[in-house]
């Protein structure tokens, strides 16, 4: 496995592929919205206009208004900050912990490996949101609590992946060479194994980002995420559900926003996977 500039290759792959261009521009827009909502959103997220409740999408409100007359477009733009946060932060933290555990487990082996793998088995016996719900049961609802609870559930995937990747590079020449030169165990793990198993892990992270977004949004939708004044897509959907008959857009538009972000990250992940494993493209029956 050689190191490579996968971001550069990603942009190269985007040429002439409308889906990838679309996905990249959605991610770019999300970052832009999250960085400058005060300049880009038509109104603030707390501006209530009871005279214009549940207005359908049109010239006055581009994406309609919700049950207290807030502009949905503005809420989507303000909400992208939370969306970007819950996409990136749980992925980064769980990947960091998971990779560290996986490399140690794979390289050190023995009892350490056994202990870590039993832990992974246990974490993996909680399906879907169950572990997150169990943790929220202790911490109480809230944006950060929802994020922590999802983070913990995601660690085991990275541990498994980086453990098996460590096995595959452990016996290669350069690791043995480093060992023969007298490099310490920590140095080998940090300077030699980690950079060489990073590429497949980055692909896994890209696939995991939409997963954490959907999980945290799901928790907000259940009323266990951030509390109402915080602009959040999941909360907006939960609040607008009661008005589904009169104003379907108020619940559907934020749902579509979640979908678009998830779809873009998944598309990018798929592209990255084809880039690091080009063989996949030419497999045939």
């Amino acid at each position: 496995m050689e190191r490579r500039n996968i971001i550069g290759e990603l942009f190269k792959a985007a040429k002439g592929e409308p889906t990838i261009i679309f996905a990249l521009s959605i991610v770019f827009t999300l970052i832009l919205f999250a960085a400058f909502p005060q300049f880009l959103a038509p109104t603030g997220y707390e501006r209530v206009d009871l005279a214009n409740r549940l207005v359908p999408p049109g010239p006055k409100y581009f994406l309609g208004s919700d049950f207290v007359g807030r502009d949905i477009l503005s809420l989507i733009i303000w909400g992208s900050r939370v969306a970007l946060m819950v996409t990136v932060i749980p992925t980064l933290i769980s990947a960091t912990i998971g990779i560290a555990l996986g490399i140690i487990s794979g390289y050190v082996g023995g009892y350490v490996d056994d202990a870590v793998m039993r832990g992974v088995d246990i974490l993996m016996s909680f399906p879907g949101l169950l572990l997150a719900l169990a943790i929220i049961n202790v911490l109480g609802p809230g944006l950060w609590n929802a994020m922590w609870s999802v983070t913990i559930g995601r660690i085991s995937g990275y541990t498994r992946l980086s453990r098996s990747l460590t096995f595959s590079v452990k016996e290669t020449g350069y690791i043995e060479y480093a060992r023969a030169l007298g490099s310490s165990r920590n140095r080998i793990m940090v300077r030699h194994i980690f950079p060489n198993i990073l590429t497949p892990i980055i692909v896994q992270m890209t696939f995991s980002m939409p997963g954490t977004l959907l999980s945290v949004a799901g928790l907000s939708f259940l009323g266990l995420g951030p509390s109402p004044p915080t602009p959040d897509w999941g909360v907006l959907m939960q609040q607008s559900r009661a008005y589904l008959v009169y104003a379907p857009w108020a619940a559907v538009v934020p749902g579509l926003a979640i979908f678009l972000v998830a779809f873009s990250f998944n598309t990018i992940g798929e592209t990255l996977r084809d880039i690091i494993d080009p063989r996949r493209k030419y497999l045939k029956l």
């Binding site: 039993r118 016996s125 909680f126 879907g128 169950l130 169990a134 049961n137 259940l222 559907v252 979908f259």
Partner: protein, 309 residues
């Protein structure tokens, strides 16, 4: 074979103990005194002391864990703080609803996922394959709560074809099962496509091709037989999928299964029921994985041979 089953079964014990330890720790980490939580705010000091002693809360923490574990094993899972109904009764009662829904969505997921996966692999690289792969990413990215809301709007509110909530009849299952299946079909078809193409690259397929066998023949009698994870594995995965999705989907459709019970109890801070739900669902999930693992090995002679079982 029996040795393998026994070994795999024994393997379950540390996992179950680990699950119980996590649940015990999480319950004990809840802020506040468990005795006060159970008694509510009106309890007097002396009653709290009595209950604390009864619950063993004055003993060291490992003794508390053993007492707690003993209670679980003897079927004493505590009572709901809200309805005062025993947790085991609630779990038993709600379990069959979850099973009904799971069976319905499992059949959709298995049929749809296998069909799309096989077509996509058979036509690998073609327009159809590209389209199916696009749809798979599309479906995979759809949040189940969005699908649920759209289904309710279209088929319950606009055309009144199926009910938006409730349970008991087949028609109640249709919308929740569809909401669960969209992601599951994508998941299974993706795995199927991958495993088919994996097998297609192996030597015996090249031999079959060199013998001059027709493509369709190779697909059916060489690749499919070797590549399709035994149908039980797919069924097991779809069951896991249905269980994972149950929390959100059951809540949207107010479907009285285990998932809805869990989210409701978390919102209402009904700790004994939350604890019961977490334990019960984790145990079912681990048992499912056990059965799938064993059947997988049992059905595939190659694995039995490799592992010397």
């Amino acid at each position: 074979m029996w040795k393998y089953i026994l070994k795999r079964g024994l393997y379950l014990i540390p996992t179950l103990l680990g699950i119980s330890l996590i649940v015990f720790t999480l319950v004990r980490l809840i802020p506040g005194d468990p005795a006060e939580i159970i008694l509510g705010q009106r309890a007097t000091e002396d009653v709290i002391v009595i209950i604390r002693r009864q619950m063993g809360l004055d003993r060291p923490i490992y003794v508390q864990y053993i007492i707690w574990l003993k209670n679980l094993l003897t079927g004493n899972w505590g009572k709901s703080l809200i309805s005062n109904v025993s947790t085991t009764y609630l779990l038993r009662n709600r379990f069959r609803y979850t099973i009904n829904l799971a069976i319905f969505s499992m059949s959709l997921v298995t049929a749809g996922g296998l069909f799309l996966g096989v077509i996509s692999a058979y036509k690998a690289g073609s327009r159809i394959d590209k389209f199916i792969r696009f749809m798979v990413i599309f479906g995979w990215s759809l949040p189940s709560f969005l699908v649920g809301i759209v289904l309710i709007y279209l088929f319950a509110l606009k055309i009144k074809l199926f009910p938006a909530f409730g349970a008991g009849e087949l028609r109640h299952l249709v919308l929740p099962a569809l909401a669960t299946s969209v992601g599951g079909i994508s998941y299974i078809s993706r795995i199927t496509r991958g495993s088919l193409l994996e097998v297609a690259g192996q030597d015996f397929v090249k031999t079959a091709r060199a013998k001059g066998l027709k493509n369709r023949r190779i697909l059916i009698s060489h690749i499919l037989r070797n590549a399709l994870l035994p149908i039980v594995t797919v069924l097991g995965m779809s069951f896991g999928w249905a269980l994972s999705g149950s929390f959100i989907v059951e809540t949207i459709f107010s479907y009285p299964g285990l998932g809805f019970l869990t989210t409701q109890s978390v919102s209402m801070r009904d700790y004994p029921v939350v604890q019961g739900c977490i334990l019960f669902i984790a145990i079912i999930y681990s048992l499912t994985n056990l059965v799938v693992d064993v059947l997988y090995v049992y059905l595939d002679p190659r694995i039995r041979y490799e592992r010397g079982i």
